[in-house]
């Protein structure tokens, strides 16, 4: 049991590298401050397809192809494809796996998928089961809204604490050849339920999951918040980030200026009416596999902790009055 440290953390003896990445952003995201960090920006939400679901699929597929092209790999050189998304039965990921033709394991961790994929991919690589793994995730504003909430054109007032589902897809190729930042540890979260029921305030529901996993990571590894250049949560949004900070402060862990949220980076919240920030799998997908990856490559950042959280409810569980259970997974990336 040399690789497990503490209760929930896995340290990689032979840390896998992120060889290449691919990002595809929606048109609204393409008008945000991270636009220059995206590989491809769509002209419209349909991306030339008949349905929004097909559009999401085409984004995920394109992000995967971009990552493969950048590393000059063909699909046959990839051992496993790990992907997940928000749609029922993760159709985006599975249909993408069909067109890529890579052996595939589907993931469902809602918005925690990016970190779940990186953690699982790293374990498979470090364990010697694979030499190259493709990890990907996507979300689409229109497909998520119609599944979880209302039809896109329905006119209702949004709550001030609501978040905006990101349209985008991100993919990362993990392996041992070439150059890139390394994934050195991963902390797998437990499902947490602190009694939140409001599916319009997922940031508040997910914050304790992020806090729990972060606390576990610090306990298990002996690292502390100051050990990192940046600690990024996935899509807690403005309210969730404050709650997460407070939860950790109560446990004696004080997060500094280096603690922030991907969901607060994607949009210009002064000009883009997204209320509490971005949400969705692609929030971390776009930030981590776009700007963050490049900053790690250039050496602008050297130690980063990503904590992606997911709300594991469904419209059915919500309508039946259940609480919203959440999870958070952390991965440590070092340049």
């Amino acid at each position: 049991m040399g690789k497990k440290s503490g209760q929930q953390t896995f340290q990689f003896a032979n840390p896998p590298m992120i060889i290449s990445t691919g990002t595809v952003a929606g048109p609204f995201e393409g008008r945000g401050p991270l636009a220059s960090e995206m590989d491809v920006i769509l002209g419209d939400l349909h991306n030339g397809k008949t349905t929004f679901e097909q559009a999401e699929r085409s984004m995920l597929c394109q992000a995967c192809r971009l990552a493969l092209d950048q590393a000059s790999r063909s699909t046959s050189e990839v051992d496993l494809f790990l992907a997940g998304d928000l749609l029922n039965q993760i159709i985006t990921s599975s249909f993408t796996a069909l067109s890529l033709g890579i052996p595939y394991l589907g993931l469902y961790g809602a918005c925690s998928t990016a970190a779940e994929g990186l953690a699982l991919g790293s374990m498979l690589l470090d364990g010697g089961f694979c030499s190259t793994v493709l990890v990907a995730t996507s979300s689409h504003n229109a497909t998520a809204e119609r599944q979880y909430r209302y039809p896109t054109e329905y006119g209702g007032q949004r709550r001030p604490y609501q978040q905006w589902t990101v349209t985008g897809a991100g993919a990362a190729l993990l392996g041992y050849t070439g150059q890139g930042p390394r994934i050195t540890a991963a902390t797998i979260g437990k499902v947490v339920d602190l009694g939140c029921k409001d599916p319009l305030n997922l940031g508040a529901a997910m914050a304790p999951a992020a806090a729990d996993t972060l606390y576990r990571h610090f306990q298990d590894t002996g690292w502390n918040p100051d050990s990192f250049d940046l600690i990024l949560t996935g899509d807690l949004g403005e309210i969730g980030l404050k709650l997460c900070r407070e939860e950790l402060a109560e446990k004696g862990v004080h997060l500094g200026e280096n603690f922030y949220d991907c969901g607060l980076l994607i949009y210009d919240r002064e000009k883009q009416d997204v209320h509490a920030g971005a949400s969705g799998c692609a929030a971390m997908g776009l930030v981590a596999f776009g700007k963050l990856y490049r900053q790690l490559q250039k050496g602008e950042l050297s130690r980063v902790l990503l904590v992606a959280t997911g709300a594991l409810h469904s419209p059915t569980s919500y309508m039946q009055g259940e609480n919203i259970p959440c999870i958070g997974h952390a991965v440590r990336i070092e340049a």
Binding site: T50, T51, R146, Y150, P151, T152, E153, Y154, G155, G156, Q157, R158, R159, P160, Y161, D193, L194, G195, C196, N201, A204, P208, I239, K242, L243, E246, E247, D273, Q320, G321, E322, N323
Partner: protein, 153 residues
């Protein structure tokens, strides 16, 4: 709904959530709803008068084509993608009148047209408006019953 009892830890966290959750700006929203609802009613009244004069209808009868016109306008705004933007500031001012009812049906119809006429539009058309219709009918039944049973008529 099953009322799950909160543990002390959950209850404490819920208090914290309340502290950070920004409240909707009720006064501003109510004012905007009042003004925009008033404007919409004014437009409706304009159509009523228009039909009354041009079609030589009684004021009661002129309401019918006026309502149909407002439904059409609500549907049109939804179809061109403008309704949700207007509603984001007009709020209840546009969603409570018949325009909101039109929006709830047309937005559902637009959303589910890709699933086909039968499985999509046909079955999902009332996904939002269904509750309104169901409880509207139930309320109408109760009111009608009371009206019929009440002596003195």
């Amino acid at each position: 709904m099953p009322g799950q009892k909160l543990t002390p830890r959950q209850a404490a966290y819920q208090q914290k959530v309340k502290k950070y959750e920004p409240r909707p700006r009720l006064l501003r929203n109510a004012f905007l709803a009042f003004v925009s609802g008033g404007v919409i009613s004014l437009i409706g009244q304009g159509f009523t008068d228009f039909y009354r004069v041009t079609m030589n209808l009684s004021p009661e009868k002129a309401g019918n084509p006026a309502v149909a016109t407002m439904i059409f306008l609500g549907a049109l705004l939804t179809a061109v993608g403008a309704f949700d933007r207007v509603a984001s500031f007009a709020g209840a001012g546009i969603s409570v009148p018949v325009t909101g009812f039109a929006n709830s049906m047309v937005s559902a119809a637009l959303e589910y047209r890709e699933e086909g006429l039968v499985l999509g539009v046909g079955s999902k058309l009332f996904s939002l408006a269904g509750s309104v219709i169901t409880f509207g009918v139930v309320t109408a039944f109760i009111v009608g019953l009371v009206h019929a049973l009440l002596p003195g008529r």
